[in-house]
Symmetry: C2
Subunit: 161 residues, 2 copies
DNA sequence: TATCTTTACTTGCCCAGGCAAGCCACAACG
DNA sequence: CGTTGTGGCTTGCCTGGGCAAGTAAAGATA
């Protein structure tokens, strides 16, 4: 058991096991379910939907790729290839940042925004059905608090580690 | 269909947005972080670890592949290929179920169990660090309740849908 | 017993993602 | 001004996963 335990025991107790199993099911089956729905109804992946959504929220629907990658929890090569696909479908345009040629600015086109608007309702409905409907208001609040903490830890992990 | 909203509005309010973003970060970044650690320290993926762990808990360390796939939230082809890799490393053996030749029984070998035991401590430590450490006892309890409900919904989805 | 359906598993093809190496723009230093 | 260094992005190679088609065993029907 290797001495590197930052916490007490090297094993999970029963309650932890249950929580852990539920979390594993969610992180495995939830993206799969979202991907299936989006692929079927819109021909895009859950990750691609997230990229479109994030871009649409930015000023002038424009962001630096590195910033976009960060908010989408993505590595750069992955986002780069998504952008290749999006550009061939005319959903985004890429151009060097005039202020600093190292950055690349991505802008959502009208066609890209339209794709997002088209695919949003069914996707949002799926999210509500799978995540929000099973929970009471109080449970949603508690879930949000806990997940926000874990997400913050994961973000630190990605940047610092 | 469009009209198929099982809940009220077709959009998420601000609180829901925050929860949704945190959940997205977790389902994307958590498997990635677990995979990195396991790949680095043990040369296996998080999914493969889960397969070994599940098999090790069964009676005689033996399960039907279809049952194993279900508890691992996996489709059959995926598990089939994992078993190919495991068999070449002598971590599992496969043989037809004597009672019904359609089923295949997978058994964890001693070497397979040893691999699991070797890789467990660091993996468990990582899980604790990323998931449990950021939370209070009450938050863990709440999180477990909420995730169990969502996981149940997802399981119904996989089977019925 | 012969045929058809169902169920469990495997195989082959295609595509997305990770990683390492390469490329380009800027900054710092002499 | 050259040179070196750093940071952002892209490319190529390889592996893993999804899906649809194929195989094989069991059961059903006649």
């Amino acid at each position: 058991m290797m001495g590197c335990m930052d916490t007490q025991s090297p094993w999970l107790d029963d309650d932890q096991q249950d929580l852990w199993q539920a979390l594993l099911t969610v992180v495995i089956a939830l993206p799969a379910a979202l991907d299936r729905q989006l692929q079927r109804d819109a021909g895009i992946s859950n990750f691609e939907y997230g990229v479109l959504a994030r871009l649409s929220m930015a000023d002038d629907a424009t962001m630096r790729l590195s910033d976009l990658a960060r908010v989408c929890d993505s590595a750069q090569p992955r986002l780069s290839k998504v952008m290749d696909r999006f550009e061939t479908r005319d959903w985004v345009t890429r151009r060097p940042d005039p202020g600093d040629g190292r950055y690349t600015l991505a802008t959502l086109t009208d066609a890209g925004r339209q794709k997002l608007v088209e695919s949003a309702p069914e996707h949002v409905a799926q999210v509500k059905r799978l995540v929000f409907d099973p929970l009471s208001a109080a449970q949603r609040r508690h879930l949000g608090i806990a997940l926000t903490r874990i997400a913050a830890t994961l973000r630190r992990e990605s940047e610092g580690g």
